[in-house]
């Protein structure tokens, strides 16, 4: 069994690799490719051991990095295992596809990005959470621009600066309550003045929701996905986007519940519910396949956020893990596919991988995501309509493309990756109660058939739809950025104005 000392190494492996790469570069050697691979393999090995260790430590663990009462510490609980999957799955795929990051600078940024992602996951206090979060996003900005699409990166940076300013503001409000930065809930927090509590929850909530691309602050995600390499897209969808949900899970929701701020939960739940539908509807009108995949990630973030607010944090983090598997398969299949005007061309093996990715990502059939969606439906009657429309639109979004056999051969490992992913899904979702009988199977089959027919009809009548196809949800960057503030303004009225 792993010793705690190894946990300390987890985020520092890529940092160390980065330092070694820079040192070697000073002597004219480029070892970044090998460093990236070795770092990913080491993190993978530590990650698997950590998974096993957390399995046998249900109460979680806290490890101080130094001596003394103020030493920085890492803290991990059993629920965090799901986030570990969301990090390790795209990491494994990126290790195989190192050629996606063709130049030295991109590979260095990838190492820093890995450090930021893993630090965010293990950190114990809000101060370090902010530092790792900034490291992760800063490296992501560079990686998104790696293929020369700087507009996408600038767009993400402008959304990012709104998010990090709000996060900083939230930290100020948390500090003003007199509560320690190491805990979301403490006696000081519960006794703090109501106004500071509301400001903290409002700011941190908005920061994390903008980061998770909740509607109406979601349009940066399709732009960034379309601009960057598949490995980065997989990371962005699987981990960075979901990092905002993890922030809500760690710092906002427990604090709101402990202090009895139910209006905060209602605000987040409303935006999460809207997010589970609107991007999915947008997929119906989306022309680019990659942007469709991105929109489906945002819709899934909405479902996970909804589950989180309703108190199903195990299920929500499970959605994050399963979604990571699905999105990694989808994005890494892009090397084996060719995209023409509303047509996807590829070999049968690649299509199978894509199909597994879509089924896992949309939660169809006896998949864990489908089960967790049904949890919400059983609890909230209106969730049936929202989630059914969302899932149907996602399927229409994917099935409206013409799928043709032919095109590039693609990497041979893809079908194996799909098989391995199903194994991971089985491991993660094994605890989910099934209850998926023949009636439900027929019911969901009917949904897919409807989606396929509607997709075919949209494709056939594409000329009639032409004006809608061309329309974007926001006319320009200014309007999109207003969406980021709208999340905050709605919260301002709802949380401070006592709308609820």
């Amino acid at each position: 069994m792993i010793e705690p000392v190894w946990v300390r190494l987890f985020p520092f492996v890529p940092v160390g690799a980065f330092v070694v790469v820079l040192g070697a570069h000073a002597f004219g050697w480029d070892i970044s490719r090998s460093a990236l691979r070795v770092s990913a393999l080491l993190q993978g090995a530590i990650g698997v051991a950590l998974w096993a260790w957390l399995e046998s430590t249900p109460e979680g663990v806290q490890i101080a990095l130094g001596n003394g009462p103020g030493a920085i510490a890492f803290a991990l609980g059993p629920q965090e295992r799901r986030m570990l999957v969301a990090y390790l799955v795209p990491l494994g795929a990126a290790t195989i596809q190192v050629h996606h990051w063709p130049d030295f600078a991109a590979r260095c940024a990838a190492l820093l990005y890995m450090a930021g992602c893993s630090g965010l996951w293990v950190t114990h206090d809000l101060f370090n959470f902010y530092v790792w979060y900034e490291l992760m996003t800063m490296a992501a900005y560079v990686l998104i621009a790696a293929r020369g699409q700087h507009y996408a990166s600038v767009k993400y940076m402008l959304f990012g600066v709104v998010s990090s300013s709000l996060l900083l503001g939230g930290i100020v409000a948390h500090y003003a309550t007199g509560a320690p930065l190491t805990m979301a809930v403490s006696p000081e927090w519960i006794q703090a003045p109501d106004s500071w509590q509301r400001w903290k929850l409002l700011m941190l909530g908005s920061a994390f929701m903008v980061h998770s691309a909740f509607v109406p602050a979601w349009t940066w995600v399709p732009t960034c996905h379309a601009a960057t390499v598949p490995s980065m897209s997989a990371f962005l969808a699987s981990y960075t986007l979901m990092g905002g949900l993890y922030g809500l899970h760690r710092w906002v929701l427990p604090a709101a519940r402990a202090a009895g701020h139910w209006e905060v939960l209602q605000w987040i739940e409303t935006l999460a519910a809207i997010t589970s539908v609107v991007p999915a509807v947008g997929m119906v009108f989306e022309r680019e396949f990659k942007r469709c995949v991105a929109a489906s990630s945002v819709a899934t973030a909405g479902v996970a956020g909804w589950l989180l607010v309703r108190g199903h944090s195990d299920a929500a983090l499970g959605v994050v893990a399963i979604h990571a598997v699905g999105k990694t398969l989808l994005f890494h299949s892009f090397d084996a596919l060719e995209f023409r005007e509303r047509t996807v061309v590829g070999q049968v093996a690649a299509f199978w991988t894509v199909a597994v990715g879509i089924v896992l990502g949309t939660g169809l059939g006896p998949t864990p995501l489908g089960h967790w969606k049904r949890l919400l439906i059983a609890e909230i009657p209106t969730a049936r309509l929202a989630l059914s429309v969302g899932t149907l639109c996602m399927w229409i979004g994917f099935l409206k493309f013409r799928w043709c056999v032919g095109g590039p051969q693609g990497p041979k490992w893809l079908p194996w990756a799909a098989a391995l992913s199903l194994g991971v899904v089985a491991t993660v979702g094994i605890t989910a109660e099934r209850g998926w009988g023949i009636v439900r199977g027929l019911h969901e089959g009917a949904w897919v058939a409807t989606a396929a027919w509607l997709g075919w009809w949209i494709r056939r009548t594409e000329f009639a739809w032409a004006p809608v196809w061309r329309r974007r949800p926001y006319p320009n960057l200014n309007a999109e950025l207003f969406g980021a503030f709208l999340v905050f303004f709605v919260g301002l009225v709802w949380v401070l104005g006592g709308l609820a």
Partner: protein
């Protein structure tokens, strides 16, 4: 006063069409938040937070080092962010021929 600066910077960020001005407003917003934190953490009469084992604990309270540490980090991050985004904005100008946010779209 700081609230007014934050509000003005927010309005400037939203209303300004020029990307460089947006970055300046974002920078102003972040600086105002940093000043707010220092204001919240300010303890009049407090001495510098330096531990000296040779000295007996004085009667004066010690200032909390956390706001300074966190804000220094935030300032460094802000400088890096500004450098990076300005470099990218220069590329956007070269690629799209404009810095006007109301004319930029996917």
């Amino acid at each position: 006063m700081l609230e007014v600066i934050i509000a003005l910077a927010t309005v400037g960020f939203l209303a300004s069409d020029n990307l460089v001005r947006k970055v300046m407003c974002a920078s102003l917003m972040e600086s105002a938040i940093i000043l707010t934190f220092l204001h919240v953490g300010h303890m009049p009469e407090a001495r510098a937070p330096i531990l000296d084992p040779n000295l007996r604990p004085p009667a004066q309270p010690m200032a909390d080092p956390l706001p300074q540490a966190l804000m220094l980090t935030a300032i460094v991050i802000g400088v890096c962010f500004n450098a990076l985004i300005l470099a990218f904005i220069a590329r956007v100008k070269r690629e799209h021929g404009t810095l006007n946010a109301s004319m930029l779209h996917d």
